[in-house]
């Protein structure tokens, strides 16, 4: 039962010809559909919500209000802009420290020594533990009255610190926890990069009388640049959208003074606590654009580095 077309070529054959010609699309189709369903539709829905006054429940009718939510958010110096600032500060602070420390650790592990395997495994430990469990643990350690951190300080004869309980100390303390948790990841990426580097340039420089610092600065680092950028990209995106650590240690709203309220925590509060879906969606779209911008800058710089 093959129906024939006007050209007299059997249908099945035409179909297989067509499939053959378009195979790259056919094979990619499932992934494309998947992407469309799981990424484009939610983002489109969020974009739509951000232009409405949806509040309380999305099942209630909402009115289209254009860019009103965006105006409200962008002129909000009470919660939105401080949250942007904190997000930037947290990301940049954590990233800078993680890069410097990660590089130091990677350089230490670069040359083999006895017991190296144990060191590598133990360095990886913070990175493989569950983030929520880590946050809970540090929260207990930094508890100002009965926590371990202040007990250690009292042994050394130092005064007790409020740690996470003090609005001014909150962000530095959180950056410290993030550094403790993610430096190993940066170190491992950099170490992988280091171990692929050729030895010759380094050797040549040594023969020419270059010192350790010079060799690192003028040879190892430039060669390692692409790997460093990968580490920066991965960590930056991750740090930008940190949620678990902040939520577990400081709760909703980032504490009584919103001292740990980054964009992610703010959006969570807007949608889940205030049920203000329109405004929350507007913040999310802006946040999305910010992350895209950061990624674009980093990848653009990377292309520039190759020139």
């Amino acid at each position: 039962m093959t129906s024939t077309s006007t050209h007299g070529v059997p249908m099945a054959e035409r179909l297989s010809l067509w499939a053959n010609r378009n195979r790259k699309w056919l094979f990619a189709a499932p992934a494309m559909v998947f992407t469309f369903l799981l990424i484009c539709i939610p983002i489109g829905w969020t974009l739509y919500l951000s232009l409405t006054d949806a509040k309380g429940s999305v099942r209630r009718p909402a009115d289209f209000i254009g860019i009103e939510n965006y105006v409200e958010v962008l002129t909000d110096t009470d919660r939105f802009w401080p949250a942007v600032g904190r997000t930037g500060l947290f990301t940049f602070g954590a990233l800078a420290l993680e890069l410097i420390l990660g590089m130091a650790i990677a350089l230490l592990l670069w040359r083999s020594f006895r017991g190296q395997r144990w060191v590598r495994v133990s360095i990886l430990l913070p990175f493989v533990a569950t983030p929520v469990a880590i946050a809970m643990m540090w929260r207990l350690i930094f508890e100002p009255n009965i926590g371990f951190a202040n007990r250690v300080l009292s042994w050394v004869g130092l005064p007790a610190q409020p740690w996470l309980a003090d609005p001014g100390m909150t962000l530095p303390t959180l950056i410290f926890i993030d550094v403790w948790e993610f430096t190993p990841m940066v170190a491992i990426i950099l170490l992988a990069g280091l171990s692929t580097l050729p030895d010759d340039p380094d050797e040549a420089a040594r023969i020419d009388g270059a010192g350790v610092w010079q060799r690192f600065w003028y040879i190892t680092l430039p060669l390692l640049k692409p790997v460093v950028l990968v580490a920066v990209l991965l960590r930056a995106i991750d740090a930008l959208k940190t949620f678990d650590l902040l939520y577990v240690t400081k709760g909703q709203g980032g504490g009584s003074f919103h001292e740990a309220e980054t964009l992610n925590i703010y959006v969570y509060g807007l949608s889940f606590k205030y049920n203000d879906f329109g405004v929350a969606s507007a913040v999310l779209i802006l946040f999305f654009l910010m992350i895209l911008a950061v990624m674009w800058i980093l990848t653009f710089r990377r292309k520039g580095a190759k020139l």
């Binding site: 378009n22 559909v33 429940s57 504490g255 009584s256 205030y274």
Partner: protein, 429 residues
């Protein structure tokens, strides 16, 4: 050309995938009642007891009960996601009437169970206390059955009071004096510990607000949180913690943190919900279990006016396709016998008959039962502003508490919060 065909393929495939999904969704259980009942419950002693008894219910009803148990925050988030999506896989829901009653009512998430509660004769709806019933009623429709009540309790350390030669405080002035004495005489021990996180502290602050003669919202529906009475209450609550609280006073404490400090023996007084007494009384959880005393809420200028509220209730999801069975479950879980049974295990109920039955209070420590009874006579039926946006309101009205705790000017903070709260009230009109 190739490109256009590719687009067409993509469109066709997407359409096919979408229609398949829709078909799959439609070929669900169909109409009518399912024998699987989805019950969502919060982490609570009540839940632990009821889950042990559920097999009995399954046997007598022939239903298969699936329990989802979550902590309070996750529970609310879970409801918001599922109820927003109109999901049918929540039948019975345990909820906090004070926190989400208005919001869920307004969003149409509750099934109206007025007929069911009035039609169940032996079950006796009239037996439920009026205050709690008021909270589970939305616009004259009954939407929930209250099963747990709590009131504001003064927890104290019998040994510390005795050492200092103090009587149990009955007024705010005596409480302050006792907290000061304990802090001065015991190195490293706080006079008092209470919640200090802005929104968490609101509920415990409410008793102080009422007892000083203040209120959240006045009779005209306007914000009343910068009245002289409210300012005084803010300053008093914050001052207690600032002056006689733990040395390192954090502004992040909710009840678990405060209870932990008290249970470690690091504080003389703790004020919080009566339903939390196991955390400091039970020797398994507490180092000072046998030295804990319970007293009614102290008197302020306007008398002793602690909150006395329906903490939790059971409701039915309006989108559930299993509402008859859901009601059957609620009826079973809140029957007079079951309520008495659960109260003897230490969970305060909302049924009058159970409180009047000596067996109903036999399991509580004697002074706790007495304090709960006294609070019940004096109590106010709400512990937070009753608005739609409770979470937002709590952050606003809680800010002056934190200001007072950190030693800032409570009156100025109250005036600022008053403006924000007024704006919130107006936006909800």
């Amino acid at each position: 050309m190739q490109h256009r065909q590719a687009v067409r393929v993509a469109v066709i495939t997407t359409a096919a995938a979408l229609s398949m999904g829709t078909l799959a969704a439609c070929s669900g259980d169909g109409d009518g009642e399912s024998t699987t009942l989805n019950v969502t419950l919060a982490n609570h002693v009540w839940t632990d007891i009821i889950t042990e008894k559920i097999p009995e219910f399954e046997e007598q009803s022939g239903l298969d009960v699936v329990v989802t148990q979550l902590s309070e925050d996750q529970l609310v988030d879970n409801y918001k996601v599922k109820l927003n999506a109109g999901s049918t896989d929540v039948d019975v829901m345990m909820y906090r009437p004070l926190q989400v009653g208005k919001l869920f009512g307004q969003s149409g998430y509750f099934a109206d169970i007025t007929e069911q509660v009035n039609g169940a004769e032996d079950w006796n709806w009239d037996d439920f206390q009026a205050g709690p019933v008021g909270l589970t009623t939305y616009e004259d429709q009954i939407v929930g059955v209250p099963m747990i009540t709590e009131s504001e309790m003064l927890y104290y350390r019998t040994d510390l009071l005795e050492e200092a030669g103090l009587e149990v405080p009955t007024t705010m002035a005596e409480l302050e004096e006792a907290a000061r004495t304990i802090k001065e005489e015991n190195e490293g021990t706080a006079g008092i510990v209470m919640r200090s996180q802005a929104s968490a502290a609101v509920t415990q602050f409410s008793g102080f607000l009422y007892s000083f003669g203040g209120t959240w919202i006045d009779d005209d529906g306007n914000s009343a949180i910068d009245s002289p009475e409210a300012q005084e209450a803010y300053a008093y609550y914050g001052g207690l913690l600032h002056d006689y609280g733990p040395d390192q006073i954090s502004t992040d404490m909710s009840w678990p943190e405060a209870a932990a400090i008290f249970a470690q023996g690091d504080a003389g007084f703790w004020i919080d919900a009566s339903s939390l007494y196991e955390n400091v009384y039970n020797p398994e959880n507490s180092q000072v279990g046998d030295q804990v005393g319970f007293a009614p809420f102290p008197e302020g200028p306007a008398g002793s006016q602690p909150y006395n509220v329906a903490a939790w209730a059971l409701g039915i999801n309006s989108a559930s396709e299993n509402q008859e069975n859901a009601w059957e479950f609620i009826q079973w879980a809140t029957s007079p016998e079951m309520t008495l049974d659960i109260q003897t295990e230490g969970v305060p109920s909302a049924r009058t008959s159970v409180w009047e039955d000596p067996e109903g209070t036999a399991s509580f420590p004697e002074d706790l039962a007495a304090a709960i009874a006294t609070n019940g006579e004096n109590g106010v039926g709400q512990d937070r502003p009753l608005v739609v946006g409770v979470a937002e309101a709590r952050e606003i009205v809680g800010a002056p508490i934190v200001a007072a705790i950190t030693g800032e000017d409570a009156a100025a903070a109250a005036t600022q919060a008053n403006e924000q709260f007024q704006a919130l009230l107006e936006s909800e009109e």
